[in-house]
């Protein structure tokens, strides 16, 4: 487990990605807690905003899933619980495979921002907007929440 995380830490040093602005362990002494800053994808309502992700790696990693959360009250997204920041993503749950690494997860989360799935909602109202195919309201409501929490 240690060697794996060390390797991922090394890889994260040379990480260059359009949407991952920073991917760092909170302290270099303890590589089990990471913080990640991502940028909203360009053609999504989240563009021009940055989000902080908190990643906690369990002792049994990579056989079990790391725990990923957004900051509470910062991410209005159909598959993210607004109050707690929990994320509903299949690869963070049943479809986890030990081959995935932290960077992959973060990329999957960025992808999720672009491709919300209203069939497994954690934010019911936003998911309903998508279900009713009310994209205008969806975009406006998200930008309201983003601007409101930024204040």
């Amino acid at each position: 487990m240690e060697s794996r995380i060390l390797k991922e830490y090394k890889d994260s040093r040379s990480l260059q990605s359009q949407y991952i602005l920073a991917l760092d362990p909170i302290s270099t002494d303890d590589l089990t807690h990471w913080e990640c800053t991502i940028k909203g994808p360009l053609h999504s309502p989240f563009a021009n905003h940055t989000f902080k992700l908190r990643i906690d790696i369990p002792q049994t990693y990579p056989l079990t899933t790391p725990i990923c959360k957004f900051e509470p009250f910062a991410m209005p997204h159909p598959n993210v619980n607004f109050e707690t920041g929990e994320i509903c993503l299949d690869i963070l749950d049943t479809n986890w495979s030990p081959v995935f690494n932290i960077q992959y997860i973060v990329e999957a989360i960025v992808w999720l921002l672009n491709e919300p799935n209203f069939k497994s909602p954690l934010n019911l109202d936003l998911a309903n907007l998508l279900r009713f195919d009310d994209l205008k309201a969806y975009h406006d409501l998200i930008s309201y929440h983003l601007n409101n929490s930024a204040k």
Partner: protein, 599 residues
């Protein structure tokens, strides 16, 4: 008359109790129901005690009484108060650490920690040696229990306040002990009469002493060792008592508590003995060493059992021994299923990465089982395509003209015009390929076998072909490039991805072959590919064949039927222990695996 009834039934006389003093009407109105209630309560209580002292109870009733009584006994009360206190404390600290969001929760000075632990250790040792000092042990369980709870409180509070997880004993919890002592009390069993019980209590105390000792000197890692010694001693004692007095002389509570351990220990010892015997069989007296140990199914597990067990050293004996027994048992339980079904080794003559850089051909075979069967038809299709297509024919005629203009190429021309044999035994060819790869045969003559269509389409002898190629100058290769266009299939038969892959993989080898000055052998091809790093996607990972899971060992397991080559033996075992049944790369169900042996 009146007085006799009240004398007989004293609970009817409640005149001394009242809520409101005085003799007013209001006071009477309130006091009378109160006294009635009191009388009723006392009557029930009296009846209860009288009944409970007789033996007329059913077992069920006795059991219910014991259960209710436990909650009001001193043991029960202490147990619940302590647990609620500790629970609150842990919760509060976790809330506060979340609130502050950093690690600056109050940490006790190390001196205070030491003093707390030391004083509790002192108390525990006094309790531990009390049975040896004097024989008056009527209140021993009670004292023991209180000290035990105190030890729990100190350990939890100190550990939590210094941001550590408190060390717990899985054998003796406060609740279990309180229940046990309570039952002993109600059964009126004297603890001194049963050496097993007394020893059990002493082991409980000793295990707490170990915890405090370990905390005092900050050597949590040595807890397992000490706990093992203690438990082994006690289990030995139990075995001795059992062989002397028989199985049923041991109290049930002790059987429940310690027999799982004993059973696990038995499993572990049995497995290790079997393994050692298997090793002994492989002992080669002439060379004086053990041979082929890695062939043993449990070889990797036994080498890395501590890793699979996933322990830090601060656990206690019983958790570890039970876990180990379960691991060993699981190994046989899932035998021949999924990740545990082993096929024979694949022996790889070269280093792994070389094999993979060479084999564009092998790579595209990693598509699935059915594909191998299909290839026969693919080749046939292609052959048909070559023959039926008219545009191809015109090209061929052009090529013929060019060849006639340049008589040097007549040999090649002949080979192409011979192109009639479509009937290709692909299966036989596949086995040939595998033989060459697997048989560690690096002979140059066989190397051309990885160019299947080459041989078959052109239908030439190896020897002829070799001599031809050796003669070809750089300029002449132009014509062969044309020939390449010629045999390249028409776009209509590239409709399926399979065909395209096939075409691309062979075409690449073919073109490399034409570009090289002399005869292209497998090793030369691999060096060319290594130099052109941009061409191969595999190239980036060529130096990284470390296991995809642990990133520490080299990969040496292939899963079937998906043929994914991603993990090492250790990780395969960890995965199978966690009931992963599908391939970690492609999620297809796995029905077996093969170990790769590099030499």
């Amino acid at each position: 008359m009146n007085s006799t009834i009240i004398e007989k039934l004293p609970y009817l006389n409640q005149t001394s109790h009242y809520i409101l003093g005085g003799r007013s009407v209001v006071a009477k109105l309130i006091n009378t129901p109160y006294r009635l209630l009191l009388a009723l309560f006392d009557a029930v209580k009296l009846q209860f005690w009288e009944q409970s002292n007789t033996d007329e109870f059913f077992i069920g009733q006795r059991w219910i009484l014991n259960t209710i009584g436990f909650f009001f006994s001193s043991y029960g009360v202490i147990c619940f108060i302590t647990s609620i206190l500790l629970n609150r404390f842990v919760l509060l600290s976790s809330i506060r650490s979340r609130r502050s969001n950093t690690n600056n929760t109050t940490i006790l000075p190390s001196r205070l920690r030491f003093v707390l632990h030391f004083s509790v250790t002192l108390l525990l040792s006094i309790i531990l040696f009390q049975p040896l000092l004097n024989s008056n042990l009527l209140s021993y369980p009670h004292r023991l229990f209180i000290v035990f709870t105190l030890s729990y409180i100190v350990e939890t509070v100190v550990a939590i306040s210094s941001n550590q997880i408190p060390l717990e004993g899985s054998d003796y919890s406060i609740f279990e002990l309180s229940l046990q002592f309570y039952i002993l009390k109600t059964m009126k069993v004297n603890i001194t009469n049963s050496p097993e019980l007394l020893a059990d209590c002493m082991v409980a105390i000793a295990s707490r002493i170990i915890i405090h000792f370990v905390e005092m000197f900050n050597t949590r890692k040595s807890r397992l060792l000490m706990s093992t010694c203690l438990n082994m001693t006690y289990l030995g004692f139990l075995m001795y008592r059992m062989s002397k007095n028989g199985f049923f002389s041991i109290p049930i509570s002790i059987i429940f508590r310690h027999f799982p351990k004993l059973f696990s220990l038995f499993i572990v010892i049995a497995s290790f003995t079997c393994y050692l015997l298997a090793c002994a069989v492989r002992f080669n007296p002439t060379a004086f060493k053990l041979q082929n140990l890695q062939d043993l199914k449990f070889y990797s597990f036994m080498n890395n059992w501590s890793k699979h067990l996933n322990f830090n050293g601060d656990e206690d004996f019983s958790t570890i021994i039970n876990k180990l027994a379960i691991l060993l048992y699981l190994g046989t339980d899932n035998k021949d299923k999924n990740l545990n079904n082993e096929f024979p080794y694949v022996n790889v003559p070269l280093e792994i990465n070389k094999l993979f850089t060479i084999s564009s051909y092998l790579n595209f075979n990693i598509e699935g089982d059915e594909e191998i069967m299909d290839e026969e038809t693919i080749i046939a299709e292609w052959g048909n395509g070559v023959h039926n297509n008219t545009s191809l024919l015109t090209k061929f005629i052009k090529f013929l003209k060019k060849c006639i203009a340049n008589p040097n190429q007549l040999g090649n021309e002949a080979t192409f015009s011979d192109d009639t044999q479509v009937d290709i035994d692909e299966k036989a060819y596949m086995t040939e390929i595998n033989d060459t790869i697997l048989s560690n045969d690096d002979d140059d003559d066989n190397d051309f076998n990885y160019l299947p269509d080459f041989n078959e389409e052109e239908n030439i002898d190896d020897d002829d072909y070799d001599s031809d190629l050796d003669d070809i100058s750089q300029d002449d290769s132009l014509y062969i490039m044309n020939a390449l266009d010629l045999i390249s299939p028409n776009t209509t038969i590239l409709h399926s991805k399979k065909n395209l892959d096939w075409y691309l993989s062979t075409r690449e080898i073919f073109s490399k072959h034409l570009q090289s000055q002399s005869r292209l052998t497998r090793s030369k091809y691999s060096t060319i590919k290594l130099n052109n790093s941009s061409e191969s996607t595999f190239e980036e990972n060529a130096d990284d064949l470390s296991c995809a899971v642990c990133k520490a060992n080299q990969r040496n397991i292939i899963f079937w039927p998906c043929k994914c080559f991603a993990v090492c033996e250790d990780c395969r075992i960890s995965l199978s222990l966690r009931n992963y049944n599908s391939c970690i790369c492609c999620r297809r169900p796995v029905n077996g695996y093969t170990k790769l042996q590099t030499k």
